[in-house]
């Protein structure tokens, strides 16, 4: 399958802090949504910065639409829509002025589509952005990111800070967007329930390292957590464990093959696992 975005061994060090991105490798196929999960400061925004060239990487390769994107590749940026967390635009603009300005940047800016989104999202065109609520400002940013007919959406914590109803509304918009088979979304978030609903792939990042990338189908159908007593835990083959975590009198063990685990360890309770739980086990659990 062809990829719209590919990262290969991307590294970035910050001399003034201990943080660094370490060998980040993942790819996003056409027509898919990739959820990028990690705690605050894990490296999600830095990775997105490297992809969008707002931060220069030290080494590794990043390909967008099959090629590296340099500063002069404005044509590639025509195909990308971006939403950052918080205030994306100066608060003294109105939505109408935003449309006029974007029209000057994008060859394919579609003012009627933008107005359609404003109506759909119930956003006033003449009110200054400083009078918008956080949810309204995020909806405006999403409308702006979609109104030049991009192929790739890069959303950095675009749903955080929104109430559940609004998040669901936005997730529906994202699902509509990927109905076109050449459209993809990279969605960074620490709200794992959102990713569970819409992502096709989930990449887990922790301390600047990509610790796991898994398809949602694999996660739903194959991943599981074994709830073990101490004695049961001691009998588990280390090769079957991804990570384990002690919780009071129980030890949780993350496995990637539920059927095999059910067959092999008949007396152990085996549960389906959520993205949240996988994330916690990968980050806080111990490796065999």
């Amino acid at each position: 399958m062809e990829n719209i975005l590919e990262l290969q061994s991307v590294c970035k060090k910050f001399p003034k802090s201990d943080f660094s991105l370490d060998n980040i490798t993942f790819s996003l196929p056409y027509g898919a949504i990739l959820g990028f999960v990690g705690e605050n400061g894990a490296g999600k925004t830095t990775t997105i910065g490297c992809i969008l060239n707002t931060i220069s990487k030290d080494s590794g390769t990043i390909k967008l639409f099959g090629r590296a994107m340099l500063d002069q590749d404005t044509g590639l940026r025509e195909k990308i829509g971006v939403v950052y967390d918080g205030d994306n635009f100066p608060n003294y603009w109105t939505a109408g002025q935003l449309s006029q300005i974007m029209d000057g940047f994008y060859k394919q800016w579609d003012p009627s589509l933008f107005m359609k989104y404003l109506e759909e999202f119930r956003l006033p065109a003449r009110q200054k952005i400083k009078h918008f609520s956080r949810g309204m400002a995020m909806k405006l940013a999403i409308a702006a990111a979609l109104s030049h007919h991009p192929q790739l959406l890069i959303l950095d914590e675009a749903t955080s800070g929104l109430d559940p109803a609004l998040r669901e509304e936005m997730l529906d918009v994202f699902l509509d967007f990927v109905q076109e088979e050449n459209h993809s979304i990279l969605l960074s978030s620490h709200i794992t329930s959102d990713l569970e609903k819409i992502a096709d792939y989930i990449a887990f990042i922790h301390n600047g390292k990509l610790i796991k990338m898994v398809s949602k189908n694999e996660l739903v159908y194959h991943y599981a957590v074994m709830r073990c007593k101490e004695s049961q835990f001691l009998e588990i083959d280390a090769d079957d464990m991804i990570t384990w975590r002690r919780r009071d009198y129980q030890i949780d063990v993350l496995v990637s093959d539920r059927k095999e685990a059910q067959r092999k360890y008949k007396n152990v309770v085996i549960d389906h696992v959520s993205v949240d739980e996988i994330f916690l086990m990968l980050v806080k659990g111990e490796r065999p």
């Binding site: 910065g49 969008l52 060239n53 707002t54 931060i55 220069s56 500063d71 002069q72 404005t74 044509g75 940026r77 025509e78 990308i80 971006v82 950052y84 918080g86 205030d87 994306n88 635009f89 100066p90 608060n91 003294y92 603009w93 002025q97 006029q100 300005i101 974007m102 029209d103 000057g104 940047f105 994008y106 060859k107 890069i154």
Partner: protein, 207 residues
Amino acid sequence: MKGLFKNNFFAVWLNAKIFLVFMLAMGILVIMLPAQTLQMYFIMIGIVGFSINAANAIGSEFSSKWGKYKLTLPVKRTEIVKSLFLSQLLWTFMGVLLAGMVTVLSYLLHRFPFEQLTALFPLFVLGISISLFMGAIFIPLIYLAGEDKTIVCLVISLICAVGIAAMLFNITDISPLPGTAIMIGGSLLLFLLSCPFAVCIFKRKEY
């Protein structure tokens, strides 16, 4: 570039419209009352004031993520910097235009009650020079120091610009024509040289 011009215009216009109202009120006074000092202040404040507004707008963009967002748009970093220099030039020109119009109207109404009309010309030169020197220092400085330090960068660049221009202005006392040429030429040269320098700094900036 069209998007950048629109963006810069909206950013500057936010404060410039208030400044314009103030300048128009002051302009009416200058036209009504033939006072040389008032007219001199008007010329200086008009030219330098608009360029200060333009410079200040650069920093205000970074109160949101727009400065970072702009880098994801189909525009080169070089074009972003060039557009700021052009905006600085445009607003300086706006100041010159306004000061010029009021001076002409005042002349038509009262003729010239002061020494000579040519006495006002060096003031225009001084205003343009200060504006250009300030822009030339401010734009690279704000990229070097960080966009959150707009006010201090603006103060430093304005003090430096006034200092340089005042030194050069002394030459016009001794020999008016070469002095004027040195002031305009020097400020324009520094302004033009500052642009690639600012591009160089901005290309290394990470957001």
